[in-house]
Symmetry: C3
Subunit: 158 residues, 3 copies
């Protein structure tokens, strides 16, 4: 089946891969909800000496997750939390209840939203969209200490 | 707990990382629904001069997303759109309504499906499965201009 | 809007990118449910000669997916399967029914959970959290043979 060209491609830039920079980011959450870690991720890239490439973000937990979403209106985060509660209600037909009524819903929310993502880096800056922020989303009711692995892969600044 | 071996691993190929190639793909959507960008992504890899490695795809928006799904029967895309509407109905209990009844559902759909993914590249070709296509999925009702960052990381063709 | 620092960043380690190692992992599933492929992924990294970097995992199918989730209590996997069935019931309003009542739900589950993810590698070992396992999740009712592309990108062991 023929189809029309879907998009327009810009010129391609080519560089060499030179650097992998790695650090861990520890975040103390305040219970269920969104923690903005965009500034920390940008600071890591700045400190890493990286120029062009990717930031890889990985969360080492199964009842929290990483989400890139709107950073403007806090109501969006409230609604996203509402949506996640509707997907995985505390009173759902779950059999894994030994860790409390918020635990299995947290795993389901984690499964739906994921623990690994990447963001392109251009000229040492995260190439996020205007309205995009990077969030650690806590799905458990109580505060938790969460560990994130940050890695930059790409070229070095001169 | 002992468990059986789950899978069979092939021989491992080893090469050097040499190249990061970057471009932006601009896509004009026609409102809610799927736009196939597989050909554009493959063309980028071809033009990049890359041989083996990965294509990283990143969408710079919060009310659209990237999905790898079946490319054969268009009914699948219809049903995936139906499913996303069921997950995030326009008349859900959302408080972020200032941008219209399709906006908050679009953010929820974006959260569930994500804005960053990668596809392996072997010998300059996307290693997609037989039935896999790469789609930009518009979640807003009206057409939008969407920006995607494409990056190849890997080895160069001779 | 000012906000508090969200997290604490560790020291940054810097290395060179040197190696891309690639292999395919073939997995025979037993029908709907989770297959733990953590050991196979770790074995690949070990055999690859990689030291620090990332493991990229890619599934070449549209009715199965890759999930990082809890590896301790098998009840969690039962509940995750229950949740996926609630999201995409066999008797939903789907029009793509030609491949059987389990096919369209499988595509929806695949869309929600995804086919591409990465795991950081530190000193040749997957930097998974204590309770994290890597799973191939089969969404079809019958057993299937599934192909996964594994790629390590990073530095070499001395």
């Amino acid at each position: 089946m023929e189809r029309a060209v879907a998009g327009r491609l810009s010129a391609i830039e080519r560089i060499s891969t030179e650097l992998i920079a790695t650090a861990e980011l520890t975040v103390q959450t305040q219970g269920e909800g969104f923690t903005d870690i965009t500034r920390e991720a940008a600071s890591f890239v700045e400190q890493s000496g990286g120029r062009d490439g990717h930031l890889f973000v990985y969360l080492r937990h199964t009842s929290a997750s990483l989400i890139i979403q709107e950073n403007a209106d806090p109501d969006v985060q409230t609604d996203l939390t509402t949506a996640l509660r509707l997907f995985a209600p505390a009173d759902g037909p779950w059999i894994h209840t030994v860790e409390g009524p918020d635990d299995m819903p947290a795993h389901i929310k984690g499964m739906l939203t994921g623990v690994s993502l990447h963001i392109p880096v251009r000229a040492g800056v995260l190439a996020l969209g205007t309205w995009q922020g990077l969030y650690l989303v806590e799905h458990r009711s109580k505060p938790h200490r969460r560990e994130i692995v940050l890695q930059f892969v790409g070229s070095k600044r001169a």
